[in-house]
Amino acid sequence: MTRYVMVIDQRRCIGCRSCTVACRTWNDLPLDIVYNPVLTEGVQGEWPNVRRNWLPTLCMHCEKPACVPCCPTGASRKDDDGTVWIKYDQCMACKACVNACPYGMRQQSHLRPRLHQYIQKCTFCRDKRQMDPSAQPYCVLTCHQKARVFGDLDDPNSEVSKLINGAETFRLMEDLGTGPQIYFIPDLGGTAQ
């Protein structure tokens, strides 16, 4: 089986937001949609003993996505490899899934005509991977720092398997039970780690 996950290494991320721009450019997104915002709380602590890190996000491609069963038309789906995506021509933009997603990763563009609306979200660049199965999502490719790593967690030799098994990781809002498939490696500061 294939189980696609992404590992995001906060030790490496320097908050340049190239992934955000790359995703927008290559997926040709309208200006009011961002699939993968890079979040930060800013500088924490008391000067000069301060720290700062960045939290790059995207759709969590949950194991038990809340956004799929709630869809009245069946447009919102999940592939066997774990990719959660939307079949746009079946979507009527009722926003049931937008309400269901606990991560707020589903969006609707208000720059499109009212009758041509649909919900959009990150698909791990499904279109691209269908064309070339070995392809990586654009946000992974473009990252200079290699802070985003994409791969098959069921393959014990993949880089994501090694990273998840070799470092302490966390996932966002795990207690909701949706089984998010984005793993974060926290930044503990300098080479101390």
């Binding site: 320097i14 500088v43 720092q145």
Partner: protein, 945 residues
């Protein structure tokens, strides 16, 4: 929004390079039907497939509706924004005629040119300017690397800028934030840090890079020179230097010890706001974790008065720790010996001496006086030298002042290529006035910038995907990288080389000096001497892409010394002394600081630092592109929460930031990112979305949020050696924008000193102004021995150098060529070839005997005419022809080659056997008797047909 299929028929992949910053990442461009349909990062290039916000936006940049696509000729008043589109070649001719007219009336020096960074082939511009006859080309070079480079070259003979991080144990990132400026570099640092390398970051702001550092020194902005001096003091007086290296390779150590005695960490602490113990820790970490690197950062060149002092001290830090050109240290590449350097493309020999003297710059280190000495030393030691672009330029702000004041003479025309000086040069108000006033302004641009708005002609420029790109690091290194042109320029866009070439030809310059029609031809000329198996530039890109000479560290051992006049690392620089500067770094403070100018603190209590690079912009670029502008839509300055509370400022408030020279508006980012006494402002802001012509006092809002409204270019505020102006460590105050006081008006921006916020304008002529430091008198020692004609004596190492070639006269009477240490005949310039015991004339390829008699060559076989006896063993049936100097058959004109044992036909070069003279037929491996037509095997048995 369907995915673009890059494997579809008709799609071609071109290896291109990004041109939006100095990192020049590899880009794969997918081209179909002459248009780029998609780009991706090149996974096989140093960026490993990575592209930042700017790089990924290349396609938006290529097709952006706001791009200038045709030549615009001004038809209304200056700045009115009324244009007529005219054909490119017609515009070139009109500009050329005007330039020629100005040259005839006021001299070539009345034409100046401002350049931009990393978009251009600068050698082409200098090639034009040199032929035109003006010395007044300039860039923002003095804020970026050049003063540092020159100081380092004075100390050790070249800038040690190529860090060898793989073997380094410690890295200082000093005033550099690769996390926001050069992302491929940051990637390497992070990898190495995870493998144990220590990173020290020196930055007053908690930058992206500082947030990953092992040791971070948040010093007072502008106090870098004090920190460097104190670190040097610690290393010297705690005995942490590399004694072996100092003893063997350095000179002036005793003087340096004496000079540094007062610069203790306790002295530096109040200046830098650091604890003495922090300074000691950093110095010890660097000096004991050798080999280590200090990565150059722009800050060193932007402190104003103290710039070169700081970088000079840092150069000494490397020297006393022995980190120069060693594995794991800072490598000194030297000029490219193996291919044509930028300097060799510039035609500097065409600029007359009297024109050089007219260069508008009072800062000797970075203009012709300093460049001449440094360049002469480089020719003597390396055999080649630095380009004059960047390293020998006019002082930009002084040129703008000359436009306004006519002092030292009136500059009448300005050609701006890839630059928007209002936003990138200090004292934006003065720059703007100069651009308005200059008689004839020509701009080569992507966009309608404030500078372009006042132009008489705006030429459209071709962008990264529309041109091939070559990376030679300003001609200061021995490696090169290349990228191909993805598509031909769209619309009427042209590359800058084409612009200068067309303009040069239209001005009447010799077409023989402009032999290359395209960049590809010129670049191929540059790399032809490498002897790579390529027949054009695009083959280089697809097959080779990057050329690095065989890695050579510790070159100083092979060379027998460093590349300074004395051959040592000069801890007390003789070139600096010759130029009237202190030979060792002597502290000087920034123009405004709490220690030297406490009287300003009441009015301006905060320390201002400006000019850091920040994502997603580069310099003053990319503000037009909505798809990245949304990441950072408004200008934000950083302020500490305590200071914000004191001044009643909350997150996002629009505030005024004011110095003695004016005030600008920015929004507050209240964070623990800077010291409570510090304000950090980003650079370059302007608002291309506004109507430029609506407010000519502030076109496109180019002064309103532009930190250069706050900086100073006054001569006394500039670095007396390099000339860089004051961008960092200024004093300011900050207060909220109120409803009654929220409009930016002309009086909010003033000229920098002299003049004041009450009495604006230049009240003192630049030539009346003193420099920040009096020149130190220096008398060059007289020769201690007789100097033969045609030679010059070098006082530093007591050697003689031939004028013109700069070859060293050896005790043996031979000249030594520094490039390959070969011996050259002092009378003829012919090179001695030891293997053959002959002299070689490199220009004609002819060879001569040691008696300087030309040696005949027939079919590549050397003859010995007049020699009674053959110098080799002659086969018994051959006759020695004394007159011709060859062993020959009695009846045939074949010459015997002692190396191969064959006879050769001088006319055809065909091989014949040395017994009967039968011709060798390689196809059948037989011998052919040409008289009878019979064939023989190699052992003379007849071949039976």
């Amino acid at each position: 929004m369907a995915e673009i299929d890059i494997h579809a028929p008709g799609v071609e992949m071109v290896k291109s390079l990004c041109y939006f910053c100095h990192a020049n990442c590899g880009v794969l461009a997918y081209v179909k039907d002459g248009d780029v349909i998609k780009i991706e990062g090149d996974p096989d290039y140093s960026n490993q497939g990575g592209l930042c916000c700017r790089g990924t936006s290349a396609l938006l940049h290529l097709n952006h509706p706001a791009r200038v696509n045709h030549v615009l000729k001004r038809v209304g008043e200056k700045g009115e924004g009324k244009w007529e589109q005219i054909p490119y070649d017609q515009a070139i001719q009109e500009v050329a005629d005007k330039l020629n007219q100005i040259k005839a009336e006021s001299g070539a020096e009345a034409v100046a040119s401002a350049g931009g960074t990393t978009r251009t082939d600068d050698w082409a511009r200098r090639r034009f300017l040199n032929q035109f006859g003006t010395p007044n080309g300039f860039h923002n070079a003095l804020l970026c690397w050049i003063p540092t480079f020159m100081a380092e070259t004075c100390v050790s003979g070249w800038s040690p800028f190529e860090t060898d991080l793989g073997a380094a144990r410690c890295l200082i990132l000093w005033g550099m934030n690769p996390g926001a400026s050069t992302l491929p570099g940051m990637h390497g640092y992070t990898d190495l840090q995870m493998n144990g390398m220590k990173i020290i970051v020196v930055d007053p702001r908690y930058s992206e890079t500082a947030s990953k550092a092992d040791l971070w020194l948040p010093l007072r902005p502008g106090s870098d020179a004090a920190l460097a001096l104190a670190m040097l003091h610690v290393i010297l007086y705690e005995g942490l230097g590399n004694g072996e290296f100092i003893g063997q390779w350095c000179s002036g150590f005793e003087e340096l010890m004496g000079h540094m005695v007062d610069y203790s960490p306790e002295w530096a602490a109040p200046i830098t706001w650091l604890e003495p113990e922090q300074i000691r820790t950093a110095a010890r970490m660097y000096a004991t974790n050798t080999p280590g690197c200090i990565q150059w950062g722009c800050t060193w060149d932007q402190i104003g008065r103290a710039s070169t002092t700081g970088s000079h001290a840092i150069a000494l830090l490397r020297a006393v720790t022995g980190n120069l050109d060693v594995p794991g240290g800072d490598g000194m590449p030297g000029p490219a010996i193996n291919f044509v350097t930028d300097e060799e493309m510039e035609l500097n020999e065409l600029l007359p001496e009297e024109q050089k003297a007219k260069q508008i710059s009072r800062f000797k280190l970075t203009s012709w006086p300093g460049y001449s000495i440094i360049s002469q030393t480089a020719r003597r030691q390396w055999g080649k030298t630095l380009p004059t672009e960047w390293f020998c330029e006019a002082h930009g702000p002084s040129v703008f002042k000359a436009i306004l004041t006519g002092d030292p003479y009136q500059v009448r025309a300005l050609i701006c290529n890839a630059t928007n000086p209002v936003n990138s040069y200090g004292d934006a108000k003065m720059t703007l006035e100069a651009l308005k006033k200059v008689e004839f302004l020509v701009t080569v641009e992507y966009w309608m910038t404030p500078t372009a708005l006042f132009s008489d002609y705006v030429f459209p420029a071709a962008g990264a995907l529309e041109r091939p790109t070559i990376v030679t690091h300003y001609g200061a290194t021995d490696s090169l990288m290349g990228g191909s042109r993805a598509i031909q320029p769209k619309y009427d866009r042209h590359t800058d080389m084409t612009f200068w070439r067309k303009l040069g030809l239209a001005c009447g310059q010799d077409p023989a000096n402009w032999p290359w029609e395209t960049e590809e031809e010129a670049y191929y000329h540059i790399m032809e001497p490498l002897g790579l198996p390529i027949s054009n530039y695009d083959e280089f890109v697809s097959n080779v892409r990057m050329y690095y000479p065989p890695l050579h560290q510790k070159k100083f051992e092979a060379h027998g010394g460093f590349w300074t006049p004395s051959g040592k690392v000069e801890l007390n620089s003789t070139i600096m002394q010759e130029l009237g500067f202190p030979g060792m770094p002597t502290y000087i403070g920034t123009i405004e600081n709490p220690i030297d100018t406490p009287e300003l603190l009441d009015e301006y209590p905060m320390v201002l630092t400006t000019g850091g690079g920040f994502m997603p912009y580069h310099h003053s670029e990319h503000f037009q592109m909505q798809a990245i502008r949304y990441l950072y839509p408004d200008p934000y300055f950083s302020i500490h929460p305590d200071a914000a509370e004191k001044y009643h400022i909350s997150q996002g408030d629009w505030c005024w930031i004011e110095t003695r020279r004016g005030r600008i508006k920015m929004r507050a980012d209240v964070q623990q990112e800077v010291d409570p006494r510090v304000i950090f402002c980003p650079r370059g802001w302007w608002f291309p979305e506004r109507d430029g012509s609506a407010d000519l006092d502030n076109p496109f809002g180019c002064l309103e949020s532009n930190v250069n409204t706050l900086t100073s270019v006054d001569a006394e505020h500039c670095d007396p050696m390099g000339g860089s102006w004051a961008n960092r460590g200024l004093l300011c105050k900050v207060y909220r924008v109120h409803d009654a006081d929220n409009e930016f008006t002309a009086k909010d921006a003033q000229f920098s000193m002299p003049g004041s916020s009450n009495v604006p304008g230049i009240t003192v002529m630049p030539s009346d102004q003193p420099l920040a430091r009096e020149p130190i008198p220096f008398e060059k020692p007289q020769p201690t021995r007789e100097v033969p004609e045609g030679f010059e004596w070098c006082w530093q190492n007591d050697a003689l150098y031939q004028k013109g070639t700069e070859f060293r006269l050896d005790e043996s009477g031979w000249l030594i060529d520094p490039k390959d240490q070969s011996y050259v005949d002092a009378h003829t310039g012919w090179v001695y070839v030891a293997a053959e015991e002959v002299l070689l004339d490199k220009e004609t390829g002819k060879k001569y005997t040691m008696e300087r008699v030309e040696i005949p060559y027939l079919a590549g076989v050397r003859g010995y005419p007049g020699m009674e006896q053959a110098p080799f063993e002659v086969p018994e049936h051959l006759r020695w022809n004394v007159e011709a100097g060859y062993a020959m058959l009695p009846d045939r004109q074949l010459v015997y080659d002692p190396n191969s044992g064959w006879m050769l036909d001088p006319d055809t070069g065909a091989y014949h056997d040395a017994y009967y003279g039968y011709k060798y037929d390689a196809a059948t491996n037989t011998l052919l008797d040409e008289n009878t037509g019979k064939r023989f095997t190699m052992d003379y048995q007849p071949v039976v047909e």
